[in-house]
Amino acid sequence: MDAIADKTFKTDANSSTSHNYDSPSLLTVIIDTNPVIWEQLEPTLSFKAMLESLTVSINSHLALNNANEVAVIANHYEGAQFLYPCHVSREDEENQQVNFVKTDMYRQFRIIDDSFLSQAFKLFKDDTPPTTQPKNFLSASLSLALAYINKKQSHLKSRILIMNVTPDTHLQYIPIMNSIFAAEKNHIPIDVAQLSPHYNSTFLQQASDATHGVYLQIKTHTALIQYMMTVFFIDLSIRDSVIIPGIKEIDFRAACYVTGDIVDVGFVCSVCLCILSDVSLVGKERRCPVCDVQFDVNVLRKLADRKFAALIGSGANGESGAVKKRKLINGQSNGTGTTATSATASPMPL
C-alpha cells in the first residue's frame, strides 16, 4: 500500500531523464573579451581566430541534436552581457548590413552565428579601448549564465564553458564562490579553456574541480579547434567513459585576511569565519580584526604561544578602562565585517 503510494510522491524530475543519452543539452559559453589582454595574445592567437574556432564548435554542438541550444555571454571590461540570445530592436536589425557567415549556410547555424558574431563585433566597434585597467566581470557573467540555465534546466542538461584570458586579479572572492556553489548544487559542470599560456587561474581551477568540469590551459594556439572538439565538446552523457585531461594538484590553501600570507594551518573566527595566520593578530584586546567580536580568553591562551598568552593574560587581569584600542582593521577586511558593532574600549569582563 505504502509502496504504491510512495511512487506517486516522487517529485524528482531528473531521475527519469538522467539516463537518456539522447536528451538535448544547453551549452553556455562565456567569452572573455578583455581587449588589453587579447592584444597581448595577438602574435599567437587573435580574437578573430578564437571566434572562428568557437563558431565551428558551436555549430557542431548544434548539429549533434536538433534540440540542442547555445547561449553566449561576453565578459567585457564594461560589464557582462548576452551576445546570444539577444533582443535587438527592429532598427538595429535593419541597419546591420554585414553578414558574418555565408548566406547559404544551414539556416539554424546561420541565425545563431550571425547574431552572436554581430553582437561581438558591436562590442568592439562601439568602444574606444579602455584607458584604465579593465575590470573583470567574471562573477556577473557566471551569475547571468546560471540564471539563464536555471530557467532552461527543466528540459535541458546544461554546461558552462569559459574561454578565459584575464588573470585572477581584481576578482571578488565571495561572488565567484557563490556562483561556483550554485553551479555545483544544480549539477552544472564548468569547463575552462585558459587561453593565456602565461598564467593559470586559481579560481577557475577550483570552479571546474568543484563542478566536475575540465580545466585546460591551451598553450598551442594553432590547434585551438582540435582542443575544443576533443576536450570541451564531449557530451555530458559520455564524460564518465572518456579520459579527459585533469589537473593533478590544486592549491586549496587559504590566505590570511590580515597579512595576506598563504597558510596551511590557520585560525578561523567562529563568528565571521575569517582566516588568521597567527593568534597574535587578534591583539591584546582579543578582538577579531574583521568582525570585532571579543574572543574567549581561555581558549586563546590554549592556542597561543607562551609570549602572547602572557600578554593576553595580563591584559585580562589588570589595566581596565584605559586600554587603548589597537586598530587592526585594514583595507583587506574583504567585506566580511558584517556585524561590526563599533566597539568602545571597555573594561574586560572578567
Binding site: A147, K151, S270
Partner: protein, 419 residues
Amino acid sequence: MDDSEDEFKSDHEQQSSKGGNSNTRVTSRTRRKAPQAELKGTSGGYAWEDEIQRSWDIVKEDEAGSLAGIVSGLVESRKKRVIKNVTPFQRGIIRNLILVIDLSTVMMEKDLRPNRHALAVENAIQFVTEFFDQNPISQLGIIIMRNGLAQLVSQVSGSPQEHIDALKSIKKLEPKGDPSLQNALEMARGLLLHVASHCTREILIVFGSLLSIDPGNIHKTIDSLIEERIRVQVIGLSAQVSICKEICKKTNFGDETAYKVILNEGHFKDLLMEAVVPLPVNKVNKSFTLVKMGFPHRVSEETPSFCSCHSKLTYGGYICPSCKSKICSLPTICPCCNIMLILSTHLARSYHHLIPLKNYIEVAREDITGEDRGVCYSCQSMFGTGSRYACEDCSKEFCIDCDVFVHETLHNCPGCENT
C-alpha cells in the same frame, strides 16, 4: 489507493486541457507546482479545515483557453514564501545538531501522505543534504524514539552520505510503541557533551505523538540542558504539547518560537528547511573563539596507498598539513592529530548567512507602461503579463524564476555584480 487515482485523473485532465493552445512546457510546469499549492490550506488555517481540493480543481483555463495565467499565479504563491529576513546577525556557524525523529505508532497515521513516518524520513533526508550544503563545517547525529527507547541510528559526524544511508535504513523500520522525550534528550545530551564551546549545541525533534513515556523526571533533564546551553527545537506533527513548549522556551532563553506545529505537508518541509539556517547567536550564549584549522592539499598518486580514515587503498587524497596523514574526504577531523581539516571553499559556503542578499521588491503594475515589454535582466525571457521584481541597489528587473533562484541558490545579484 485514492492518491494514485487522484494523480491519474489530474494528469488526464491536464492532458485534455492541453488540447488548447498551451504548449507542453506549461503543462509540465503545472504538474510540478500544483501539489504544493494544493497542500497549502487556502484559508491559511489547518488542512482539515479546508474544503476538499482536488488537483484538477486548481487547473482552470482562462477565457482564451490558456493555462499561462494559472501557472504564473501558482508560481507567485510559491514566491511569497521565500521572502526572508535579511538583517545580518552574528550566527553560530559551526553547529552540532542532533536530529531526533519520532518512530512511535502514531507515525503510522496517514494524515500526512503517504504516512507520517515516510514523509518525516523523506523530509529528513532532504534536510540532511541541505544542512551540509549550507553548514559544511558542522556535525550532525540522528536519534530515533521508538518503543519507549532512544536509539542512535547515525553517529555524530560531518558526512552527509552516512546519515542519508542511516535514514534510508530506518525508512523500512516499522514505527512501534510510544516515544520517550526524556530518553532522547538524555542521549542527545550525552552526544553533545564533549562539543567545544565555540560550536552550537542543538537538538531538533520531529515529534508526532501527543505523549511521552519517561523513566524519570523530565524537568531535571531540562535543567541540565539549560546548564549545558543546549538549544532544543521541536516540530510537532499533530497538536501543541505543553511539555514541548516548556522545553523549547526554557532552552531558548524564553523564546517560544522554537516550538512549531505543522499545518500540512508543505509547512512541515518549510519548518525543517528553516532549521537549516544557523541560529542567531544569543546574547546569553556567547562564546566566541578562534578555531585552529588545517587547509590540506590534494595529491594524486600513481600507486595506491592506505588512507588513515578507513584504512583502504586509495589513489590520492588530501594530506593533513600538521601530521601528513592521508585523508579521503573533507571536511573532517584528522584521525591522527585531531585538527579540523577543511577546504577554504567550505568556509566560503557559509558566507551568505553572514551577508544575506537584499530581497527584491515587486514592481507595481502601474509602473509598467503598456509599451514597455522588457526582458528579464538575467534570463532574457520576456516579462509578458507576469510580475517583475527589481533590485533596490542596481534597479535591474528580474522575473520570478530568477528572483527565486538568485535568493535561494545563487546569493549574488547579477545586476549588482555587473556594476
